[in-house]
C-alpha cells in the first residue's frame, strides 16, 4: 500500500467480515479490498482463515456478520453461480468419468450454451493452458500439472471477473510448481482478470503477487507489496513467517539507536519510548561476519550447511544462536563478530 503501482478501481470489498463456526471464530472483523486486474495473495499458516476468506468470496459460505461487495453491489448472500467469480480447487475437482473436453465444457452445458459455442470456447481454453489436442484424454491419464491446467481451463471457460485459487500448486513437485507460478502470472496478465490466490508458501506469494495479505488466526497482519512485506514486516509474526529471521530481544535506547545484548546499533526506526523493550528482526542474509574484533556481537561458528546458493551458518553467541546466510564460508569453530547495517535492523513493538 506504500508502493506507487498503478491503482485501478476496486472490484471486490470485504467489510467487517466475521465468521464463526459453532464457538470457533475463524475470521475476526476482516476488512479487505481487491483492485481490478490485481494478483492478490492471501498468505498464512494453516488454520489462519485464508481458505475461509476465499470460500466467503466464492459464495460457499456466508459470513456471520459483515458484507461483501462486488463492484459496489452487495453479494454477501448471493449463491456462487450468481457471482462473476470462479474457483480453482486445491484437488482440482475434475470429474474422473468425463474426458478433458467434457470437464471443461461441464459448466457451459449446465448453462445450456449452444454446442457450437461450447466447441470454440473449450478449444480456446485448451490452447490458453497449452493443452491443445488433449480433448479426448481421460483425466486419470494426465499428470498432476496437466490436471491443474484442466482445472484452470474449467474455471476460466466461464469467463469470471475474479478467479479464486485455493493452494492450486500444492500437489505439484517443486520444479513444476515454479513453472506453473510463472505461467499463472503470465496468464493473469494476458487475460486481465483478478486473481485471488491462497497459499501457505511465502516464497510463492512473494514471487507471484502484486499484493500480499498476511493473515494469522483470522486477523489480517499486514497488506502490502511483496517487497514491503519482506523488507518491512510489521510484527515479529510476519518477520518469522515470511522468510527466515533472527528475532532478538532488544532495548530501544532512543530514536535511531537500539541495544542488542549490550551492544549499541544504529537503526532507522523511531517513535518508541526511551528504553522500551522491543523485538529486533534481522534477516539471516543481512548479517555480516568479520574475524576482526569490531566491538559488535561476538560468537563462534557452530555449524555450516551448504545450501547451494549460499552457506547457512549458525553462530552461537552468549545469549542467542543466530542464523546467517552468506556466500562466504567461515569454517566451523571460527571466532567471528556480527555486524548489521542500520537499515537492515527492523524494530518491532513487543506483542503483549
Amino acid at each position: 500500500m506504500k508502493g506507487g503501482y498503478k491503482l485501478s478501481e476496486k472490484i471486490l470489498e470485504l467489510n467487517n467480515i466475521t465468521k464463526i463456526y459453532e464457538d470457533n471464530t475463524v475470521i475476526k472483523n476482516l476488512n479487505l479490498y481487491v483492485r481490478k486486474n490485481e494478483f492478490i495473495t492471501l498468505l498464512g499458516p494453516s488454520g489462519c482463515g485464508k481458505t475461509t476468506t476465499l470460500r466467503l468470496i466464492g459464495g460457499f459460505e456466508t459470513p456471520t456478520s459483515g458484507k461483501i461487495y462486488f463492484e459496489g453491489k452487495d453479494i454477501t448472500n448471493l449463491p456462487p453461480y450468481q457471482r462473476k467469480v470462479n474457483t480453482v480447487f486445491q484437488k482440482y475437482a475434475l470429474f474422473p468419468h468425463l474426458n478433458v473436453f467434457e470437464n471443461i465444457a461441464f459448466g457451459l452445458r449446465i448453462k445450456k450454451v449452444s454446442e457450437g459455442e461450447i466447441q470454440t470456447r473449450v478449444k480456446n481454453m485448451l490452447s490458453l493452458v497449452n493443452l491443445d489436442g488433449f480433448e479426448k484424454r481421460e483425466i486419470s491419464s494426465l499428470s498432476g500439472g496437466q490436471q491443474q491446467r484442466v482445472a484452470i481451463a474449467r474455471a476460466l471457460v466461464n469467463e469470471p471477473d475474479v478467479l479464486l485459487l485455493d493452494e492450486p500448486l500444492g500437489a505439484l513437485d517443486l520444479k513444476l510448481r515454479k513453472e506453473m507460478q510463472t505461467e499463472l502470472k503470465k496468464m493473469q496478465q494476458s487475460l486481465g482478470i483478478t486473481f485471488i490466490f491462497v497459499t501457505h508458501d511465502q516464497e510463492e506469494a512473494l514471487t507471484m503477487s502484486d499484493t500480499v495479505v498476511v493473515m494469522n488466526e483470522g486477523v489480517i497482519q499486514q497488506i502490502g507489496r511483496p517487497e514491503d512485506i519482506y523488507n518491512e514486516p510489521k510484527n515479529a509474526f510476519i518477520a518469522d513467517f515470511i522468510g527466515e529471521s533472527n528475532i532478538i530481544d532488544g532495548i530501544m535506547l532512543e530514536d535511531f539507536l537500539v541495544e542488542i545484548f549490550g551492544v549499541k546499533f544504529k537503526c532507522v526506526d523511531k517513535g518508541f519510548d526511551n528504553n522500551e523493550p522491543v523485538d529486533v528482526v534481522i534477516r539471516p542474509e543481512d548479517i555480516t561476519l568479520s574475524r576482526e574484533n569490531n566491538g559488535k556481537i561476538e560468537g563462534y561458528i557452530e555449524n555450516v550447511i551448504f545450501k547451494g546458493v549460499h552457506y547457512e551458518m549458525t553462530v552461537n553467541t552468549k545469549n542467542y544462536t543466530f542464523k546467517i546466510h552468506s556466500t562466504k564460508m567461515e569454517p566451523k569453530g571460527t571466532r567471528v563478530y556480527l555486524d548489521v547495517e542500520p537499515d537492515n535492523i527492523h524494530i518491532m513493538k513487543k506483542v503483549r
Partner: protein
Amino acid sequence: MEDKKKYAWLSYIIMGSAQIMKGEYIKGIFLLLVEILTIVFGIPYFAHGLWGIWTLGVTKFHFNEQGVAVFDHSIFLMLQGIISILLILIIIGIYVYNVRDAYKAKEEKKTTLRDKIDRNFHWIFITPGLLSLVFLILLPIVFTILIAFTDYSAPYHLPPRNLVRWVGLQNFKEIFGLKIWNKTLSGVFIWTVTWAVLATVTSFFVGLMWALIVNSSGVKIKKLWRTIFIIPYAVPGLISMLIMRLIFSGQGPINDFIEHIGLQRLGWLTDPHLAKFTLVLINMWLGAPYFMALMTSILTNIPKDLYESSDIDGATAFQKLRHITIPMVLYSTMPLLISSFAYNFNNFMLIYAVTGGGPVNPNYRYAGHTDLLISWIYKMTLNQQQYHMASVVTIMIFLIIAPIVAFSFTRSKSFREEDLI
C-alpha cells in the same frame, strides 16, 4: 558326471532310472513307483475307462443263466473314462518331467532334505489344491458338458435299466428346433435376463436412494436409520424369503389388508405377471440394504469440491445427482453391478423359496412362469430326470455368464494391480 548322462535315455523306458544313477534316490524311486503303479493298476483301469467313454457300454440289462443281473452302467463308465483321461494327462506330465530331469546334471552342492523341502515348498502346498481342482472342479464340468451330447434322460435312457447313447448335437438341435423346447427356452431365457436386469437395477437404485436420503444433511439420527435399513441384510436370506412367501400368499396378511380396505384379493404369487413383480419387489427389499451400505461409503468418498465447482456453474440438485453423483457411483461400482447381474441371473434360492417357479405354464416344458434358467435346470434334473437337456441349458448359461464374469474380473482393480501386491 558326463558319462552318467549317457544313461539318461534309459529314463524313456524306465522312469526314474537316470535319477537313481545320479544319486537322487527319493525322486527316482517316486518316479519308478509311478511307472509301476501305472503299468500294474493303471493300464487295465484306463483301458476299461477309455472303452467305456467311447461306447458307453454294450451289455443291456438282463439276467444271466445264474439269475444275476448283468449290465453296463453307462454313466459310471463315462465317469471312469473321464477320470482315466485326467489321470493319463497327469502321468504324461510326470513322464515328461522325468525325461527332462534325466538330462539335467545333478546338483554339485550337497543338499539336505530340509533344503529340498524349502526349495519345493510351493509344490507341497499346491499339490492338494491342484488335485482337488482337477477332480472336484474340472471333472464335474467335463462330465456336465459331456452329458449334453448324450440321451441321458427318463424314461427310456436311464441307467441301470437302459444304456445311454452318444447322440452328438441332437439335443442342441431339439432345444432350438422342437417347438415346445424352443418356446420354453426362449420364454425362460427372456424372463431370466429381464429378471437379472430388473433385480439388479431396482436394488441398486433403491439402495442409492436410501443412502442419499440417510446421508443428506437434514436427516437426524442417521445411525438409527442406517440400522433399520440394514436389518433385512442381517436376517438370513432364506428366512426372509419364506416369510415373504407367507406374507404375499393368497391367505397372507397383505391380501387380508387389501380385503379389509374393500378391494379384491390379489394373486401375488399365483398371477403370472404379478408374481414376477412380487419377486422383483422382494429381491429389492433383500438386496437394497447391501447397496445402501456400499453407496454410503462411496458417497462420502466423492470429493465435496466436485459439488462446489458445480455450484459455481449453477447446477441444480437434480443436475448434480445426474451429472456427478450417479456417474461417480457407477464409475466405482460398475464391476460390482456386473457381478450382481451374474448373481441374479442364477438367483436360484429366491425363486425356489418364494414361488418355486410357479405359477405353472402349460406352454412350457417342465418350467413355470417365474422359472429362471437355473431353476428350470433344477426341475429338469431333480424332478424330471432330463439330464441331457439340463446339461445343454447349463452350457448355455455358462456361455452367457462366463464372459460377463471374466469382463468384470479383468476390469477390477485387484486383477489389474495383481503384480503390485
